[in-house]
């Protein structure tokens, strides 16, 4: 361990000697201080805080990510190319220790930079919040500078699957030809949507009730108001139309429920509103009912149609956990850069690392392609799917890439922080496990093997 720490210390010294640490620190601080002056917000304290959080943390992630890749590629590749590694390698130290030492040095450097810039962002947010009017502060402390847990009604996926299967079987009995047809997946999809609609639609003049189990938080939520987050879709009306709605929260048979005035709500968007405290029943279940007084049906998606946001913790710890996930990403990038530098020259390693980053950033396109089932272009208007001979190879490859990418990309600390949503210790632990231990570990092992097998002296000929 002492040897690894010695290499880490050498990496630190190199970073300080080349003023890399100073330059990145200044750039990060400039981004944190300069962005609030440059950005144009929506005019609310809430909007400003959200955009500030998003842009500063994105800038920190971007700057730190690029510098990490650059540094990790450079520190190993240049040592090899400039033959300095030969001085180290001839010492009683294993190759894997050199590799891990450099990784540890970069990771600690990142931790320090992240801590400094994160502290600045946090301080800036608190300072700005403290100078706002009381009403704005209240909104900010309740909706953004907070860690809110999210609870949903119990999943109805099992019921939907069972009913879909049942209806499909009945359909196959009545139309046996369908069994071998290429349309079967599409038919099943349509049946599923029809079944799903039963759990989602609130017809005109009708009401629907959801029950959300908050028993595990029952005691901590006593005397604390909750936020209801709702979203619905509608086939009626254009984008400018709004719909009336009445909400009732609390089981009317057990308590005096809270009832809203008529609300003017638009479709296809999330709405958040506060409901009073102490509306859970004696088992910790919150009953929520919606009455649809409109002339058209409204559809509340089972996934996120009705959710309850409840206070779970403070912003400071949540922010720290968010930075923790960003730190995990940096650790992974350091491993990628070092792995590339273990067998490539500095420019090629840098190019390779950037290419990997580009693949990660374009995973949305890959996901769209996998969802459409083909790399070919179809006709959406006529419902004709695309087709290409390359699909047999590319789609499974894309699926594989997505599985790997999503291990790291499946976490969104910046979105959670700007939305005031809690990042749990479990999430942070999962991020560490998946990103650092699993992905970073695999890449590290590959990098160490490549570095251990590399003939270091051959690089001398390139000079």
């Amino acid at each position: 361990m002492q040897r690894i720490i010695a290499i880490a210390w050498l990496t630190w010294k190199a970073a300080l000697r080349f003023r890399l640490f100073l330059v990145i620190a200044v750039l990060l601080l400039a981004a944190v201080v300069g962005l609030p002056v440059m950005i144009k917000d929506d005019g609310t304290a809430r909007g400003f805080t959200q955009i500030l959080l998003t842009y500063t943390l994105s800038a920190i992630t971007g700057l730190l990510g690029l510098s990490t890749l650059w540094l990790s590629c450079g520190t190993l590749a240049r040592d090899i190319e400039e033959c300095q590694i030969q001085v180290v390698a001839t010492k009683p130290i294993a190759r894997w220790q050199i590799w891990l030492g450099k990784w540890l040095g970069i990771v600690i450097l990142n931790a320090a930079l992240l801590a400094i810039s994160g502290a600045c962002v946090f301080g800036l947010l608190q300072w700005r919040a403290a100078h706002l009017p009381a009403a704005e502060q209240k909104i900010l402390r309740e909706q953004v500078l907070v860690a809110r847990g999210l609870a949903r009604p119990q999943s109805v996926d099992a019921q939907i699957n069972a009913q879909t299967k049942q209806v499909l079987e009945e359909r196959l009995k009545s139309s046996p030809d369908l069994a071998g047809s290429a349309d079967l997946p599409e038919v099943e999809k349509q049946i599923r949507e029809q079944v799903k609609a039963i759990y989602q639609i609130v017809p005109p003049g009708y009401s629907r009730q959801w029950r959300i189990d908050l028993s595990s938080q029952m005691n901590s939520l006593r005397d604390r108001p909750l936020q209801l987050r709702i979203k619905f879709n509608s086939a009626g009306g254009g984008t400018g139309r709004t719909f009336a709605g009445f909400w009732q929260v609390g089981d009317a048979q057990k308590m005096e429920p809270w009832q809203s005035e008529s609300m003017s709500l638009s479709s296809d968007t999330f709405h958040e509103f506060q409901v009073p405290a102490n509306l859970l029943d004696d088992k910790g279940v919150l009953a929520i009912a919606f009455l649809n007084p409109n002339d058209t049906s409204l559809l509340f998606p089972v996934e996120d149609g009705v959710e309850v946001l409840y206070p779970e913790g403070g912003f400071a710890l949540n922010f720290a956990r968010g930075l923790g996930i960003i730190f995990c990403w940096m650790a992974l990038l350091a491993a990628i850069g070092l792995m590339a530098a273990s067998f490539l020259t500095f420019p090629v390693a840098a190019f390779f690392s950037m290419a990997v980053l580009a693949v990660v950033l374009s995973s949305g396109t890959l996901a769209d392609t996998v969802a459409s089932g083909s790399v070919g272009v179809g006709n959406d208007e006529k419902g004709i799917p695309g087709h290409s001979p390359a699909d047999m190879v590319l789609i499974p490859v894309f699926k594989g890439i997505l599985v790997i990418v999503n291990l790291a990309k499946g976490f969104s600390p910046i979105d959670s922080l700007s939305g005031g949503l809690a990042i749990t210790w479990g999430e942070l632990g999962a991020a560490f496990g998946q990103i650092v231990l699993l992905l970073g570990g695999i890449i590290g092992i590959i990098g160490i093997v490549l570095f251990s097998r590399r003939e270091l002296a051959t690089a001398q000929g390139n000079q």
Binding site: K40, D41, D42, G43, T44, K231, T239, G240, M263, F270
Partner: protein
């Protein structure tokens, strides 16, 4: 020559060349346009950072703009709007001469994003209003700055005022109107027509006002006065006046730059003018209610003549659509007659009723009544018919409710000093009552309406109720107008009104058939 002197000379030379190239740039830009060397015109009035960005990025501007556009779209799909203003700013900065980009981004903010926000508290649509303002500001403050002769931007800007704020399709329209009126009152005064102080400011405050109106709201008071003279008089605290202002400015720009003017754009601008004039006629006057501290919108009847001229002008200018415009004109004339009648301006109502008959003698004037040609109806019959179309003339409950509604209007107008309107509403209530009784009451006594005096008393008692009625000050004003005794803590017994031509005694708590005090 020493190295230091050489460096100094080179610096001076560089500065001189920079100044000269700046001068040459102007003529080069002119030549670029004249010789057709470039598709896009050089950027005018841009701040240095924007000018630098557009030049430095070159062909990559479109690419970056596309990426930002995709991000904006993705965020919007995820209901994240806090970045929308910033992204719209960047996108339009990258494509400052592309009018559709300005129009789309502004429309998106004013229409698509604004409605995503719910009512914050009853009647409070401040979150929506912020986005409507953003849309207007984007076009007015930036879009027109870089594209002063782009007609479609004027068209969209005027449409925002006419449709988004002026009409009632958005639940928040009253909030928008109130906010806009509050913003404009310092400039146009409580009457909404204060041009003198803006054009010839005398005091420091007036000069500041004029400057803010020009700099912040981009309104030229001289042109506004010209618009008011041509199409008005308008209340410039209301959105319709501003819709017409921007449409008129667009038409002026089109005249000056005929190459830029497309026929469709001109047509739309003319439509904005006559539709906004009609809107202003319908609700272009603000009536303050000092008791509720609220405001109400009432027809701007003084616009009838000008609005009529605008219709006639539009029919002549747009022959292809003259049939549609003439149908709208006929509807407008019917409204003119009814509103004048409702406001007790009988002479004018009769004049316009005759004009309607002369202009459209072969077209019915009451919906669903094939015999309602102008020659077959009197003015009174027409006014009553209009009310009864809405309420259904055979419904006892609905006619009763309508008569009570008209009487409520009459008493409230009386309390706030709108005597003509009060008299008009009372007259209309009596005509509706009489007409119904004549048709239904005699043949079917069970379906007869309560006597008019009973209805008046019910309404008056309701309004004067100390718990559920009007605010104290309004009750006091109404009592004064009706010459009733002042309110006391003890239940009122009898009040006598002897001055009014229509006056009779009133009992608030004694049940008799004697009539309550009525409008003077």
């Amino acid at each position: 020559m020493s190295a230091r002197a050489k460096r100094f000379l080179l610096l001076v030379l560089a500065a001189a060349l920079l100044i000269v190239s700046g001068q040459v740039q102007k003529s080069m830009n002119r030549d670029r346009v004249q010789l057709g060397l470039t598709i896009g015109e050089p950027l005018q009035n841009a701040p240095p950072m924007l000018a630098f960005t557009t030049v430095a990025l070159g062909g990559f501007r479109g690419l970056i703009s596309n990426m930002l556009w995709i991000r904006a779209n993705d965020l919007q799909m995820d209901d994240k709007y806090f970045e929308a203003a910033q992204l719209a700013d960047w996108i339009t900065d990258l494509e400052p001469h592309f009018a559709q980009v300005w129009n789309f981004q502004a429309w998106n903010m004013a229409y698509n994003i604004s409605v995503k926000f719910k009512e914050n508290a009853p009647g409070d649509y401040s979150d929506r209003w912020r986005w409507v303002q953003r849309g207007i500001e984007l076009l007015r403050d930036s879009g027109l700055r870089y594209n002063p002769d782009e007609i479609s931007i004027y068209q969209n800007l005027s449409w925002f005022f006419q449709h988004k704020i002026g009409q009632n399709l958005d639940d928040g329209n009253l909030y928008y109107k109130r906010q806009w009126a509050e913003a404009m009152t310092p400039f146009f005064g409580t009457g909404g027509t204060n041009f003198d102080n803006l054009i010839h400011p005398q005091t420091a405050g007036e000069r500041t006002n004029a400057m803010v109106l020009r700099e912040k709201y981009k309104i030229d008071p001289v042109f506004a006065q010209k618009v008011d003279a041509q199409y008005g008089p308008f209340d410039w605290r209301l959105p319709e006046a501003h819709a017409i202002y921007w449409a008129a400015l667009g038409l002026k720009m089109a005249e000056e730059n005929p190459v830029k003017a497309k026929a469709d754009d001109l047509l739309t601008l003319r439509r904005v003018v006559y539709q906004s004039t009609l809107q202003a006629f319908h609700h272009g006057r603000i009536i303050s209610n000092p008791f509720t501290k609220g405001v109400e919108l009432a027809p701007n009847l003084d616009l009838a003549s000008k609005a009529n001229d605008v219709y006639l002008g539009s029919m002549n200018a747009d022959l292809e659509n003259s049939n549609h415009i003439s149908a709208a004109h006929r509807n407008f004339l019917r409204d003119v007659v009814y509103f004048l009648y409702e406001n007790n301006r009988m002479t004018e109502a009769a004049k316009w009723f005759k004009y309607l008959g002369d202009k459209y003698p072969d077209m019915r004037i009451v919906d669903n009544d094939p015999n309602s040609l102008p020659k077959n109806l009197t003015l009174d019959e027409y006014a009553v018919a209009v009310v009864q179309i809405d309420i259904g003339e055979t419904s006892q409950e609905r006619v009763t409710s309508a008569v009570q509604g008209l009487l409520t209007h009459a008493y409230i107008d009386l309390a706030i000093g709108q005597d003509d309107r009060a008299a008009g509403f009372q007259l209309l209530a009596e005509k509706v009552h009489a007409n119904y009784q004549a048709k239904m009451g005699r043949d079917q006594p069970r379906a007869a309406l309560p006597p008019m005096n009973d209805l008046k008393r019910t309404v008056l008692n309701m309004l004067l109720d100390t718990q559920q009625g009007l605010p104290f000050a309004a009750r006091a004003a109404l009592r004064t107008q009706l010459r009733m005794p002042a309110e006391t803590n003890t239940p009122p017994v009898v009040a006598t009104n002897t001055s009014s031509a229509m006056a009779t005694n009133v009992l608030e708590t004694v049940s008799t058939n004697s009539a309550p005090p009525v409008l003077p």
